[in-house]
């Protein structure tokens, strides 16, 4: 294919063709360039020096209220790919109890580009390796058994057209990085501390993020120091106490127990056979007390610098900024066009006004499903981490997940973390190892007693959210502050 102009002509012609043939709706995504690069230094050895390139077309057709999808990496076979998507939809239409509707949406002609200073894929490999090797050298100590430095760059150039007349071209760039140090404790158990590249929500998301010490490399000494304490620490004992989550842990708590249960396709039962359902129902919207008054959660697709920001979703809906939870009450969910229409039909009232702009697909060969964009806890008024610690009688501060296991309807959870700091009478007293905590989602969020201010807020990047069948790995963001929950079960029973 000779570039975007030809792709636009072929896709638009075929979308019009299948629409004229009887499709209720059709869209297509052409990926001209879906490039990725993964570099892994493991104990100083370059264990991954990998690049990937993907190109192809994905076609989605709604026929008789049912979806058909087809994808091909053979760019000479686009017409037949449309035909296959139509046939798949026609077959599906033979077994439809609740016909899907996309509804009306104004056409958008637009172009979106991630704000990027320097394209990370285009930076010379030698420069990238020099940077990673420098970080690795800072992590190296005789007592440290394992060192890992990972960088992952992606660059995507894609075109979306649909039968509403929407035509959106996007260039998306993402930069992810992690560093990990590991050492054995006195019981010969491996302990670890890690740090992931984060953002402030502002700025640009190119190679320059890797060069900002505050966002990543400047934390090398801190994680080494914390690991040195961790290997000498006592294990956390079982008991109920307050738990203060740093952003490195808060993001996953939010992801698993607010983000996923608020995906509308899960609520409607479309993920039941694999990922699971949700304890949230349509009746919950506007009524359910999800958490304490201190809990305010947004879905904000327009955060300047986040992997969860992409301009328009994969069915042409512009990014949105709206509250999911307002002072503890559930007021909205993560949604896409057809799911919103179905929810309103099923509820018999207008529970949702419009699509949340959250239909996303991981690759050209996957169909869009309801995903998170940037799901955030808004900063609160309880001051800094130190202020929150000072007001805690008996608790732990925890950071970074090692393990997460969630109930199939997201009603209960169990997390393991890398490190805990004991808090007694308003002071951090010592480091504890092998911290875990568990709870039931609603009870847990209703025990939220402190939310840190903007000084504690970080945009944490997620590059590996899995959902759907066939499974899709998605990139997104969580802007989160320090938070405290009281009376939480921590540690494991003997």
């Amino acid at each position: 294919m000779e570039g975007m102009t030809q792709a636009r002509e072929i896709l638009t012609r075929n979308v019009e063709r299948v629409r004229s043939a009887g499709a209720g709706y059709a869209d297509a995504r052409y990926f001209a360039d879906d490039s990725s690069e993964v570099l892994v230094l493991y104990d100083g050895n370059l264990e991954a020096n990998d690049t990937g390139f993907e190109t192809g077309v994905g076609v989605r057709v709604l026929w008789g209220g049912a979806w058909g999808f087809a994808a091909t990496s053979d760019l000479a076979a686009i017409d037949s790919c449309f035909d296959l998507a139509v046939r798949n939809a026609q077959t599906a239409a033979g077994l439809v109890k609740v016909p899907l509707r996309m509804g009306e949406m104004p056409a958008h002609k637009s172009y979106f580009q991630s704000p990027v200073g320097t394209d990370p894929v285009a930076v010379p490999l030698g420069d990238k390796l020099d940077l990673l090797a420098g970080i690795d050298a800072r992590l190296k100590e005789d007592w440290i058994l394992r060192r890992v430095v990972v960088a992952n760059f992606t660059r995507r150039h894609q075109l979306f057209v649909n039968s509403d007349g929407t035509d959106v071209e996007k260039r998306l760039t993402n930069v992810f990085a992690d560093m990990i140090v590991m050492a054995l404790d006195g019981d010969s158990e491996m302990q670890r501390r890690s740090m992931s590249l984060y953002t402030t929500g502002g700025g640009t998301r190119g190679w320059e993020m890797m060069l900002d010490p505050e966002l990543f490399s400047g934390h090398a000494e801190r994680i080494k120091s914390e690991l040195s304490e961790l290997v000498k620490a006592e294990p956390l004992e079982y008991g109920r106490r307050s738990v203060i989550l740093l952003p490195g842990q808060t993001f996953l708590q939010v992801h698993e127990t607010i983000g996923h249960p608020l995906e509308l396709d899960r609520i409607l039962g479309y993920e039941l056979s694999f990922a699971g359902g949700s304890f949230v129902t349509l009746d919950s919207i506007g009524r359910l007390r999800y958490g304490s008054e201190k809990l305010n959660v947004s879905s904000f697709g327009g955060i300047e610098n986040s992997p969860g920001s992409f301009g328009f979703d994969d069915e042409g809906t512009p990014e949105r900024d709206y509250l999911l939870i307002d002072r503890g009450v559930l007021v909205n969910v993560l949604s896409s066009r057809a799911m919103v229409n179905e929810a309103n039909d099923r509820a018999g009232r207008r529970v949702l006004e419009q699509s949340g702009g959250a239909a996303r697909a991981t690759a050209f060969y996957r169909a869009p499903i309801d995903r998170m964009t940037n799901v955030n806890i808004l900063p609160g008024a309880d001051g800094s981490l130190e202020d929150i610690v000072a007001s805690t009688a008996d608790g732990i501060v925890v950071d970074n997940p090692t393990s997460w296991s969630i109930g199939s309807n997201r009603e209960h959870f169990h997390f393991g973390c890398e490190i805990a700091w004991e808090v007694k009478d308003g002071r951090r007293t010592r480091v504890l190892r092998n911290p875990t905590y568990q709870g039931h989602t609603l009870e847990f969020y209703n025990s939220l007693t402190a939310v840190g201010d903007a000084s504690t807020w970080r945009l944490m990047q997620v590059d590996n959210c899995g959902k759907g069948e066939p499974n899709q790995i998605m990139q997104l963001g969580h802007g989160v502050p320090v938070v405290r929950f009281d009376n939480v079960i921590t540690g494991e029973r003997g």
Binding site: D34, N45, L46, N49, T51, G52, F53, E54, T55, G56, A66, F69, A71, T72, S73, D74, L75, A85, N88, T91, A92, L95, K97, P124, G126, L129, L145, R146, L184, D187, S188, M190, G269, Y270, E271, L272, S273, F274, G276, Y365, A367, S403, S405, I406, G407, S408, N409, E411, H412, H414, G416, N434, G466, E469, P470, N471, I473, I489, E492, R493
Partner: protein, 458 residues
Amino acid sequence: MLDRRTRDILLAARDGAARRGIRAAISLHRERSHLMRIGNSSVSLNTSENLTRLDITVLSGRREGTHTHLGEISSQSVVDGAIDLSARKAEVARPKDYEPLLPELQEAVAESGQYDSDLAAMDPGEKARVYSEVFGAAGPAFDFSGSWSSGVVELYLVSTANELEAWHIGTDQIFSVVMKHPERKWELQDEQTGWRSGAVRAEAAVEHLASLLPVYERGGAVRNEPGEYTVLLGASAIAELLGMAVWTGCGGRMYEEKLGWTSNNSLGDRILGDNISVVDDPEDPLTFNMGFDMGGMRRRRFTLIDSGRLAGLTYDRATAARYGRRQTGHETNSPGIVLSCGTGPADALEGARGHGGRMLFIPALHYMNLPNMSKGIVTGSSRFNAVLVEDGAVVAPIFSSRVTDTFSNIFGRISALSMKAVSVNGSNTYGRRAPVAMSVPAWAIAEGVKITDCAESF
């Protein structure tokens, strides 16, 4: 064998690389996948994917570069371009402190023993027909969801190390249907697997769901207090636990790097109960067979755990190179893990009757993870079809219950195992299609399993 045109292109590219002095391996992954998803008793997605991936590895001394191209192999220049890119990356790469290994085929392989042209060509309408039959048999009172994935995977591997070629083609499928009560919220599941057309039968699903229904229709459910329980594990739960135990306990990299729960043991040490024997058998008919790995090794039966003792550690190409070990043929996404059966009856409830007493029947575990890999602590929660059993009779459903325990406790105190082996499909659909199944006993009774939490819902 691979279609002639593609094969000619890849062989010419390999020979061209060799002439240019490039040490390269070329592998092809081609899939034709189809998936029908069900939601709310409707087809929610009917999708076809036709994808070709080319993986290139180039070594230059101790430097390595790799590249994956997803797109059609329309000409030799596509392959040459990927090789040249990998070679340029290898030149710039930092050298490793050990000698990396290039994939090198031990022998020529051409296998199609688990390929069924009928399944490869299955009309999606047949899937809709089966689901319709299941929905019709149960009536309109329930909401159904599920998925049925089927497909063809073709793998091809050559390298400049020698002239040999390895080729594999196989079909696979996994079917699931979940029946949910719209008000009471319980969820019952039936799952079927196999590589042949006809392996999935509507009547089997209907019969299975119907057998589970009476106790759920009576209403009520048991909330389990934290404590130690006798647990009747179903095949899926056994496979999920065993898969994680083998990955973290028998993986050479986990062991060498002291990350796994057996890292302080030696080969021959007792790590599990003496009724636990595990092999990786690439010819077991209940698994998806893969005769070679991507390091070029001929895969052969490999003992991992023998009567509870650690018997073998798996080494892929990279781990073997780094730690100076021999490759064991485990650079594959399709191992064939087999847990030996016992002497108990085929049916789980009969097994429970023989054991006697009260136990939790947990057929499957959801969302497992490892809070402490060094200790082999695993956690996950019950989901579909979980019930309380007394003297072999189903008493009541149980609410979602969390198991948090060690592999050594769970597989160290198995008091009975079924004589019947069943296939559990654990295929990975992240990215490329990779069929994998385990052969495990239909059930096992584990004593003193720790239940650490329970919800008040299913």
